[in-house]
Subunit: 260 residues, 2 copies
């Protein structure tokens, strides 16, 4: 994509239903910038910030967003959490600590599915992230319908702000950009996986060359060795082009023995 | 956990089968430090670094690791990728660009499952990450059995090094620390979800109070309104303690009408 296509793609993305990310009282401009980069990496375009310590716009945020801020709609700044969530219908709060509240606690993965269902139904969701050290206050958490806690190493679970934003955004991205994909592909370029007939033809030729070269010591050993060699070569799932290369390898190597 | 328990937990984690993270020629100490924090957040303890630009140890790495480096076994430094992977049995390379190679391409999620299977079989895996700007060279990728590409916003897919390390590590953590969990819980503290009988008893009392207070205008409307009100209250999945609170609310509000 060139710059214009990139801009158009991101503008189009920003019009699609998606959760809004809300940072409450973030301290470091770097963290806001890195968070926007993580958001846009994952296709999230709408950032709201409540009372950023160093004001807005912020040069450090621009520098660390790696261009994300230019491709996203303008960041919205609010004076209070109440104003920032006022038009949001389902609100999630990220929290490392267990709270003494009867609120559903979801993993990031579960929450992404929940948000996706809401997005499909035209319901506006938002995710709250607290300030770097203290995390969300109980007053902020009052606005949340659900809590999100990410399953991590219990002896070292404190995430940097931008990394927490990344993980939530990543789970959204897996539903948005990877849906329906198995997660596995073997790209074969201009060639294609060799049909069994091509493989057979090659393997029979190799076998014949090996017999000529007296590779097999005894008839009893031959059956097992042949089968294992075949399984090994098959395991690599050769393309037709690779079968051709292997034919060339045999031709080159067998020059001395085949002609005897 | 106190500091000693934290250290013991992490030492124990480091002895469990897991992929090794290998950073090739990273430039910024910050990125190495942030990567170690992300790794340990996710329970990965073994870092190897090939030719770090600014040498090792690195003060910036220590500062940005947020204590992770102190809880992990010593980082191993190598002069070449060949030496760094020499004892690894299955190697994965993270790459944003499609390469003209017939190598399996996995998503981060799929790769984590693959690594977990290998770990269970006692097979040592490793994941290669290239330098910040250029990514992995083709010479480095020659060592990889599999490529990993993370499904992201195609118009803005370039991840910061530490964030790429985080996402791979995160997928490992979901298999390690979240396995068997549904991702949803409703913690009810000392109380518990109210049994249907308690809820019925409360609702019948509310209904009787509403009849007394002449809330229901017509008998035809009553059936639907009662059913909807019941569904609303049930949807919140009240605990026994909350049912008690609601009894108190009815008692307080109905003082004027019930006594008439």
């Amino acid at each position: 994509m060139n710059d214009l296509e990139r801009k158009e793609f991101c503008t189009d993305l920003s019009t699609q239903p998606q959760p809004i990310i809300i940072l409450i009282a973030p301290q470091m401009g770097e963290n806001i910038g890195t968070a926007t980069r993580a958001m846009l990496n994952c296709g999230l375009c709408h950032l709201r910030v409540v009372s950023p310590r160093d004001g807005w716009p912020n040069d450090r945020a621009i520098a660390t967003s790696s261009g994300a801020l230019e491709l996203m709609p303008e960041v919205k700044i609010f004076d209070s959490t109440a104003e920032a969530v006022a038009d949001c219908q389902v609100v999630y709060a990220t929290t490392a600590r267990a709270r003494d509240l009867v609120k559903p606690v979801m993993s990031a993965r579960y929450a992404a599915l929940d948000m996706k269902s809401h997005a499909a139904a035209g319901i506006q969701t938002a995710i709250l992230f607290g300030p770097e050290r203290a995390g969300l206050s109980n007053d902020d958490i009052d606005y949340a319908h659900h809590l999100i806690t990410i399953p991590l190493n219990p002896a070292f679970s404190s995430l940097n702000l931008a990394q927490a934003v990344l993980l939530l955004s990543y789970e959204w991205a897996q539903l948005k950009f990877a849906e329906g994909e198995s997660g596995y592909a073997l790209p074969t370029g201009k060639s294609h996986p060799a049909p069994a007939g091509e493989f057979d033809h090659f393997f029979n030729r190799l076998d014949a060359s090996l017999i000529t070269a007296q590779f097999y010591r005894t008839p009893e050993l031959k059956e097992t060795t042949t089968r294992n060699l075949r399984a090994f070569l098959q395991r690599a799932q050769p393309t037709s082009q690779e079968i051709n290369t292997l034919h060339g390898v045999i031709t080159a190597l067998a020059k001395g023995t085949d002609s005897k």
